[in-house]
């Protein structure tokens, strides 16, 4: 019955389509989804040929029609073949909402346009596709009273009585019935059921099994939590997916539906709605279900304005699985680069400026060009030895999987500017009937979204530079006393073997206190020669060369130097720091080659140019208009130096160690504008921080680094990247200068529409990073991605990516703290989240009664929580007393460069309970994360808190002393601040170290230092853990529930 189904009904049903269309046109929400479907009838009736079926747009359309917006299950790819067999049809059809996304790839380009034109012509005829479901639901209607189980779920789903619907429903009754009956009487019942729009209970079951699995449990729980106990004031009609179709939920729902105890006024509204629908008028489930499933919602505010609104805290969405990358981006175009390289805040690009202006979450991208690939997925390297790299003549786009070959393979059309380019004869290959090149499978650049080209000499302004590491080391008394010098020397020494670049690597050192010490490391010497320059006003370099030497040649001298360095300055009592002049000296030495400059700074620069005042963290400045100046670099010297460093391809990494104020805000600018990074170890003590410094310095020195790089993001016509955020310097409007890049750096960019209306179906993005690899090759790493242009705001929300949005938001907020108060930056975040949710609400407010409920798209369910976490993150948290200024600045510089995943982990850290695991033998499951609130902490438990930068191990008061003893040894009763966790000879200790190592390995970019905290051990507990529990009310900040209520109120205002 399968195959003929889609065909048969078509003829008779077509007429029915029109009445519908007109009625439906009043519901704005359908506009996008059904639009796709609408194409179907237009085409189908004529030739029901196979080719028609294959074309993606038709597949789902006729089957599903209005449910289109409703379903968002993963299998978008399948919709193409889906049209025939009915069981998959239930799968495939839902995807029709996505179908557009399949248009973009060029093969289908030829087929797609016609439907679309018809589309734009009459966008509102959308629902004609509905007829098929229409009759289906009609059929069921008579049954509804009988199958009392079936309908409630439906009504729950639809929830809100829709005044618009009933009359159309009637009409539907009359019109489609006759038409559908002749078409396929026997299949009538079962077939519609497969679509899941059907309220019939019996039919539902198979259907739900096939469709729902992923969603089912979640919604089930939700409902239980929300409705089960009638006295609970919180109801949680989470209208996600297919929940209501499952028998258990429908049961529950029913329970709730008839439960006579509705303390929540709003839900009573819903009930009435249910009943209303049950009794016959029952609007066909299809449209409403479609609507309802579009969003998730949260009930709150039984009494408008009261704080103890019925908000069930346990029901709030939490990202306990960490960052879940939206599947849609990679799935909709298998040729797109992986989302670890490029993530868009929404993969649906708005087609007009007016639509873009309603999207308050910034259209943009977060790019991590060198993200580490898991083994087996390395970026392929392509060498166009003789051909030269194939690029578009006009827009300089690199050849990529989305270019189309025409003219029998002699020309190719650029996907970004659509210019026809000639194919060089060496690159020529014939094109087969379907437009594919015959040599496609040997051309990774035409298959993969990410490739690396080997660049010929045209891409070099000078011979590729060798990897170069230069160390600028503070050797004043504090550096020696804290043990920094020793740890650092040891670490560098141990890394000498693994520095990238093998025999080409160059290395050099300068140390400084009140004078500047240069070291001659000539390979013929046995010991390094030290030269002291004490004239700080007129710095000169005492030796023209030999300050910077080839590591492999001078290896023994370098080793001798590093061995003797700590002892050389052991007795140094100098407290001054001539940082500025030393910086200049380093610049002079390095400017020939460029490279990486690592600065180890222990105190406030106090001599020579660039000396900094102890402007300190003045409490009186907070809350005034001058507050932001504290976070700005004080002396323009540093900005100027940073600009010069970038010009000469020098990247600066700042390691700061002081226990006192060091003005990280100023020192950090060096890293910010040179593509570097700030590492801050407040109050560095070798005994405590040794491992952390060692690991992070090792990582910094040995990770794969791209040198003297520039990056540009190209995008299609009509859109333009307007601003960039991260650690880099712009060399021209869209060219990022990156003296050194590595896998731990990400860059964000904001996009704007240049034209009022985009005419293309797809917008392409291409990230190109031109760099010198450590092996001395000039390379271009190219990531290409396609994103569909959408006409509907709901679609944009559906394709949104919370991770990218938050990453962009955090950068914007941090930048805002540099020009206004912290308070304003936090409000900015809050307003944007609220605006976005309000706009979303406005989309649905007309059809649904939404009072007392907050609705949000499934894709953004964590947005409010991450927004809250962002407001509580170090750079934005509280005021003067909450975070030290240096820590704030350091965190801000770090967050400006963090890739999405690490950022989300930092914002919403992992909290796991381990005591049970320690006592037993079962496998440890890191997935069992807990909500970040005090309630998660059981006094009998042992918890690990991991934000990617540190571990906090929390010992409950009533934790068995056995565990404590096993973990920290005999002195478990002492002050935990003096105890460090180390491996002991017992299984428990081994186990916990194993867990910690496992966590560390999962993200090696930073080292998590362990802090042990005992419950009630203030202020330590508060400092390390309690302030980081983002869901709790800390200081003046909101807790999660309050925050939701607050957002809800803001959403309500002028809604």
């Amino acid at each position: 019955m399968g195959p003929e189904n889609p065909n048969r009904p078509n003829y008779p049903l077509r007429p029915a389509a029109t009445p519908f269309a007109s009625q439906q046109s009043s519901t704005p929400f359908l506009s996008s989804g059904p639009v796709v479907g609408s194409e179907a009838p237009a085409f189908r009736p004529g030739p029901p040929s196979a080719s028609n079926f294959q074309a993606p747009p038709f597949a789902g359309g006729p089957l599903v029609g209005t449910e289109v917006p409703a379903f968002r299950p993963p299998p978008s790819i399948r919709s193409g073949e889906v049209a025939r067999p009915p069981p998959p049809s239930s799968y495939g059809t839902p995807t029709s909402g996505f179908q557009r996304f399949q248009n973009p790839p060029m093969p289908s380009a030829g087929q797609v346009p016609p439907p679309h034109t018809s589309l734009t012509g009459q966008p509102f005829i959308a629902p004609p596709t509905r007829p098929p479901p229409g009759p289906a639901s009609l059929f069921s209607h008579p049954q509804q009273p009988l199958v009392s189980m079936g309908s409630p779920p439906q009504s729950i789903k639809t929830g809100q009585p829709n005044p618009n619907i009933p009359p159309p429903a009637d009409q539907r009754f009359s019109t489609p019935r006759p038409s559908s009956q002749p078409s396929s009487p026997p299949t009538g019942t079962s077939y519609p059921a497969g679509r899941g729009t059907y309220p019939g209970y019996a039919n539902m079951q198979p259907n739900s099994v096939s469709q729902a699995p992923p969603m089912q449990p979640a919604s089930f729980q939700m409902q239980q939590g929300g409705y089960g106990p009638p006295m609970q004031s919180a109801s949680f009609p989470l209208q996600r997916g297919y929940a209501p179709q499952t028998p258990p939920t429908s049961l529950l729902a029913q329970q709730r539906g008839y439960a006579p105890v509705p303390p929540v006024s709003t839900s009573s509204g819903l009930y009435s709605g249910n009943q209303f629908q049950q009794h016959g008028i029952a609007p066909p489930g299809a449209p409403q279900q479609g609507l309802a499933e579009d969003f998730s919602s949260l009930s709150l505010g039984s009494i408008p304005g009261s704080y103890d609104a019925g908000l069930d805290i346990t029901a709030l969405p939490r990202p306990l699985d960490g960052d879940v990358e939206p599947k849609s981006f990679a799935d909709m175009n298998p040729m797109n680069c992986n989302s670890r390289f490029l993530r868009l805040t929404t993969s649906g690009i708005p087609n007009s400026q007016s639509l873009a202006s309603r999207w308050h979450l910034s259209i943009g991208a977060v790019v991590c060009p060198l993200a580490e690939s898991p083994p087996g997925e390395e970026v392929p390297i392509v060498n166009f030895a003789t051909t030269g790299i194939i690029r578009c003549r006009r827009c300089r786009t690199y050849v990529n999987p989305y270019v189309t070959f025409t003219d029998n393979g002699r020309k190719w059309r650029c996907n970004i500017c659509s210019l026809l380019n000639d194919v060089p004869s060496e690159y020529f290959a014939h094109v087969d009937a379907s437009g594919r090149r015959v040599d496609l499978d040997q051309r990774p650049e035409l298959l993969k979204g990410s490739v690396e080209f080997i660049a010929p000499a045209e891409y070099m302004v000078r011979p590729p530079m060798p990897p170069l590491y230069f160390f600028l080391i503070d050797v004043s008394i504090s550096a020696v006393k804290s043990g920094m010098l020793e740890v650092m020397s040891q670490t560098i020494r141990s890394c000498l073997d693994s520095l990238p670049g093998s025999t080409r690597t160059q290395i050099g050192f300068i140390t400084y206190d009140s004078t500047i010490h240069f070291y001659n490391m000539k390979s013929s010497l046995a010991q390094p020669q030290m030269m002291v320059v004490s004239d700080l006003d007129d710095i000169f370099v005492p030796l023209p060369d030999d300050l910077l030497v080839n590591l492999s040649e001078s290896r023994s001298v370098v080793e001798a130097f590093l061995d003797s360095l700590p002892s050389m300055f052991q007795l140094n009592m100098n407290v001054e720091s001539a940082f500025g002049p030393a910086l200049k000296a380093a610049f002079m030495v390095m400017s020939q080659l460029g490279g990486k400059l690592l600065i180890f700074q222990n105190s406030l620069p106090s001599l020579g140019a660039g000396l900094l005042k102890l402007r300190g963290d003045d409490i009186r400045v907070y809350g005034t208009d001058k507050e932001h100046t504290l976070r700005l670099p004080e002396d323009p010297f540093y900005k100027q130096m940073a600009a010069d460093f970038t010009k000469y391809q020098i990247a600066v990494n700042v390691y700061a160690f002081s226990d006192k104020y060091t003005d990280i805000a100023t020192l950090g600018t060096l890293a910010k504008y040179t593509g570097g990074q700030v590492y801050y170890y407040p109050n560095f003590q070798a005994s405590i921080h040794k491992e952390k410094l060692k690991h992070e310095l090792t990582r910094d020195l040995t990770r794969e680094t791209a040198w003297e790089a520039v990056m540009r993001i190209r995008c299609g016509k009509g859109v333009r990247f307007t601003s960039y955020h991260g650690n880099f310097m712009l060399r021209s409007t869209d060219l990022l200068a990156l003296p050194a890049v590595d896998c731990d750096k990400a860059y964000a960019a904001q996009l704007s529409l240049e034209e009022t209306l985009l005419t293309t179906q797809t917008v392409y993005f291409q990230v190109a990073l031109l760099y010198t690899s450590s092996s001395g090759e000039r390379r271009i790493r190219v990531h290409t991605a396609a994103a569909p242009v959408v006409t509907d705001l709901g679609e944009m929300y559906r394709l949104a990516d919370t991770g990218a949005i938050i990453s962009l938001f955090s950068r914007l907020a941090i930048e805002k703290t540099l020009s206004s108060k912290l308070e304003e930056a936090r409000n900015g975040v809050q307003h944007r989240v609220a605006k976005a949710l309000r706009e979303y609400r406005n989309l649905y407010a007309v059809q649904h009664r939404l009072s007392g409920r907050m609705i949000y798209p499934e894709s953004l369910k964590f947005l409010p929580l991450y927004g809250l976490a962002l407001c509580k993150s170090l750079p934005l948290r509280g005021g003067y007393s909450d975070v030290q200024l240096d820590e704030r600045s350091a965190a801000a510089y770090t967050m400006m460069a963090l890739p999405v995943k690490s950022l989300l982990k930092l914002l919403y850290p992992n909290l796991v309970r381990v005591d049970e695991y320690l006592a037993k033998t079962e496998e440890f499951d890191t997935k069992k994360r807990l909500p970040l609130t005090v309630e998660s902490l059981d006094t009998r438990g042992l918890y690990i808190f991991d934000d990617g930068f540190r571990f906090v191990i929390w010992f409950g008061k009533a934790l068995s002393p056995d565990i404590t003893k096993n973990l920290v040894g005999e002195d478990f009763a002492t002050d935990f601040s003096k105890v460090s966790l180390s491996q002991r000879d017992n299984p428990m200790s081994r186990k916990i170290m194993e867990i910690l190592n496992q966590c560390r390995k999962s993200d090696p970019s930073y080292f998590q230092l362990c802090h042990l905290v005992r419950q009630g051990d203030q202020p330590r507990e508060g400092f390390f853990l309690l302030t980081s529990l983002v869901e709790d009310q800390i200081g003046g900040a909101n807790g999660y529930a309050d925050w939701m209520v607050l957002l809800y109120r803001q959403v309500q205002q002028n809604a």
Binding site: P636, K639, Q640, A642, A643, K647, T669, Y673, S723, M729, L730, R731, S732, T733
Partner: protein, 150 residues
């Protein structure tokens, strides 16, 4: 009465220089936008002329005041105030690292200033012409009477 034309000549020269400087700065910013100029070069060029420009405008302003041209002085005051504010808040110099964030506002500011100087130049030229005329035809009562209206 002979010095008046010379005074106006000096005024118009100063004005012309200011006009030129502003145009030069404006050009620099548009070149930067069009990628004909890199930020390093732009900042060094503009930072080189910005303080002389401010000083020149200040001088013009004071000269108007000293010579008792009240209306002209008042007209030139807003720009002087703007310059002073920029200078005092240390925003007058181009920050090479962040220049792309301010390029559009800077361009707009330059354009407004350019317009201001063009209008001002018109006024100054008119006064120059009038003063020349009045100096040459000092005897002619009519013209003298007419020029005093200004």
């Amino acid at each position: 009465m002979d010095w008046l034309p010379f005074l106006w000549l000096i005024f118009s020269c100063m004005n012309l220089t200011l006009l030129g400087l502003n145009f030069y700065e404006f050009l620099g910013f548009s070149d930067l936008e069009a990628d004909y100029l890199n930020p390093y070069e732009l900042s060094s060029r503009i930072n080189y002329v910005i303080v002389p420009e401010y000083l020149l405008h200040g001088a013009l302003c004071i000269l108007f005041l000293m010579t008792g041209h009240w209306i002209m002085f008042l007209l030139s005051l807003p720009t002087a105030y703007y310059n002073l504010k920029q200078y005092l808040s240390n925003k007058h110099l181009v920050d090479v690292t962040e220049v792309f964030k301010v390029v559009s506002t800077e361009k707009k500011a330059r354009l407004i200033k350019l317009g201001f100087y063009v209008i001002f130049f018109g006024l100054v030229i008119t006064r120059l012409a009038l003063s020349v005329v009045s100096a040459v035809f000092a005897d002619d009562e009519d013209i003298v009477a007419w020029s005093t209206i200004y």
